[in-house]
């Protein structure tokens, strides 16, 4: 009897850990891009959530052959149903939107003032603009990516613990993309330039680095990673214009890990994912956010710089 009870307890725990890691990996994709931008330009880009919405809708549109809007069906005939095309389109499209956001909204401000507060305010504006463009263009209703998009099925991990194939897929993708980012940053010439720029942007320019191009690359990468998260969120949950709001969780994760630090963003995201899922499993799902924000406040009180952050006075 004791054995059976222990067994169930263990499998519940393990199941919640699997769910937590899966959720955490999506947070990590969002948090890392956000943190990357922060490390270069020292401001919280609140439009980051918009990039993930863009990714989600492009993926939906390409996969369903533009069921989004009656007009566009006649304008664009895309072979519907290609996961690869939809995925690549979403990642590339969100990357381009991120670069355009920087060029149109942030660059003119950066050239006039070194006060990052203006960038922060502009990013809030951009976030609302992106949201509303989608409300107007495709409507505010909730959608979901067709379940046929990814292979379905459950993997049995033993001891009664299962992982859905979308869990496995999102974890695998997160590992691949974060690994790819790590490779890019540590093994390539531009990666080195980005790490140098994170330390001192002006001086990076003195090294012969085209700083405008560097910033564009960083935004493209951030938009692309956000779109990966956006695609998985709109597959597993729902796609709607305000979906970018989930980025607040990624902000929290980045702050817990240490703003501007990439390992910090990943660790913070996994902690947050686990905390949410363990709360859901053992307390109640309504307590999730309470736990998340309590963690944030606790972290800011105990270790304001986060686990990996440099001690900077003004954050967010």
């Amino acid at each position: 009897m004791g054995n059976a009870a222990q067994f169930t307890e263990f499998s519940t725990l393990f199941q919640q850990v699997v769910n937590g890691l899966s959720l955490g990996s999506v947070y990590a994709l969002i948090a890392v891009g956000y943190s990357l931008v922060y490390s270069i330009l020292s401001f919280s880009n609140f439009a980051h959530g918009g990039f993930l919405v863009v990714g989600g809708y492009i993926c939906y549109g390409l996969f369903t052959g533009f069921e989004l809007n009656v007009f566009s069906r006649h304008l664009l005939t895309v072979p519907a149903g290609s996961v690869w095309l939809a995925g690549l389109g979403a990642l590339g499209g969100a990357g381009i939107v991120a670069v355009l956001t920087e060029r149109l909204a942030y660059k003119p401000i950066r050239e006039r003032t070194s006060m990052t507060l203006y960038l922060l305010i502009a990013s809030m504006g951009v976030s609302i603009i992106i949201e509303n463009i989608f409300v107007i263009a495709v409507g505010g209703r909730f959608r979901a990516l067709p379940q046929s998009m990814f292979p379905s099925g459950l993997y049995n991990l033993g001891w009664g613990v299962t992982a859905s194939s979308s869990d496995v897929l999102s974890l695998t993708c997160a590992v691949l993309f974060l690994g790819g980012l790590q490779f890019f940053l540590t093994q390539t010439r531009w990666g080195l330039a980005i790490r140098a720029a994170a330390c001192d942007l002006r001086t990076a320019g003195l090294m012969g680095v085209n700083v405008s191009l560097l910033i564009a690359i960083v935004f493209f990468a951030a938009g692309l990673l956000a779109a990966v998260g956006g695609v998985f969120l709109s597959y597993r949950y729902t796609l709607y214009p305000q979906m970018g709001g989930i980025t607040t969780k990624a902000f929290v994760a980045a702050v817990i890990g240490g703003l501007g630090s990439l390992p910090g963003a990943i660790v913070g995201s996994l902690i947050l994912g686990l905390a949410e899922m363990l709360t859901t499993g053992y307390v109640s799902s309504q307590m999730r956010d309470l736990v998340v924000y309590s963690l944030l406040v606790l972290m800011l009180l105990v270790k304001p710089a986060g686990f990996f952050g440099k001690p900077v006075s003004d954050k967010i």
């Binding site: 010439r189 080195l192 790490r195 140098a196 002006r202 003195l206 090294m207 012969g208």
Partner: protein, 240 residues
């Protein structure tokens, strides 16, 4: 009249503050030219304006008769590189990575390997510390790294903004000796210093900058014995 670097009539202002009010300078191939002046004279402003780090209101610069581009990364590509005031090394990166980023602008990275050996030959202390984080180096080593990093771009003109800042006299002497060797290898040097004695001893010619304007210009040897310079800039400096 075919100087390697020719700067004409630079004017730079920060809002209402006029930091440079018409400063001109020329530098020949293989020459070491220094600019001396006290705090706030506009020396760093001048270097930053040449490098395209601050915008200028007026003035032009030419390298080998060709107009110097406006943006920093283009200036570096055309053959100038600066070891900035306060060193500005990338503290969280290793010594090796700092040197590698210095070679960013080069079309062929193969030449960078040979130059890194050259930098290690000039500053052996860097070679012993390649894997060390740059932020953990001593002040003197950081200055060597800043100079080495600038050399990695294979510049035709090496610009140095106060390389002696905050260093012990022995270390300053070491670094200035290496700069002489760099120059013997064919790199022209434009040096900005508050340490007027060291600058005058190293350079061939010197410009004296005072509140954004040229005060005096001439062969460094002559200025070393100039009474006005002696009283204003060489007052209580240590013996050479």
């Amino acid at each position: 009249m075919s100087a390697l670097l020719e700067v004409r009539d630079f004017h730079v202002s920060y809002g209402a503050i006029k930091a440079l009010q018409g400063f001109s300078l020329s530098l020949e191939e293989r020459e070491i030219v220094s600019v001396i002046g006290s705090n706030g004279a506009g020396k760093s402003t001048f270097m930053n304006a040449v490098m395209g780090m601050v915008a200028r209101d007026r003035g032009e610069a030419f390298l080998d008769g060709r107009k110097l581009p406006a943006r920093s990364f283009q200036v570096v590509r055309s053959g100038l590189s600066l070891a900035p005031e306060g060193r500005k090394i990338f503290a969280p990166l290793t010594v090796l990575e700092n040197l590698q980023i210095g070679a960013f602008s080069r079309a062929k990275q193969s030449g960078a390997r040979a130059d890194m050996e050259w930098v290690f030959y000039l500053f052996p202390r860097l070679k012993e510390r390649v894997r060390q984080l740059a932020g953990t180096l001593s002040g003197g080593e950081q200055q060597m790294l800043a100079i080495g990093r600038a050399l990695m771009a294979r510049p035709r003109v090496l610009l140095l903004d106060e390389p002696s800042l905050g260093l012990a006299p022995i270390v300053i002497r070491d670094i200035f000796n290496e700069l002489r060797r760099v120059n013997e290898e064919g790199v022209s040097i434009l040096l900005v210093e508050q340490n007027a004695r060291q600058a005058l001893l190293l350079s061939h010619r010197t410009y004296v900058l005072q509140t954004g304007r040229l005060l005096k210009e001439g062969p460094s040897k002559t200025l070393l014995t100039d009474p006005e310079i002696k009283s204003a800039y060489l007052g209580k400096g240590q013996a050479p």
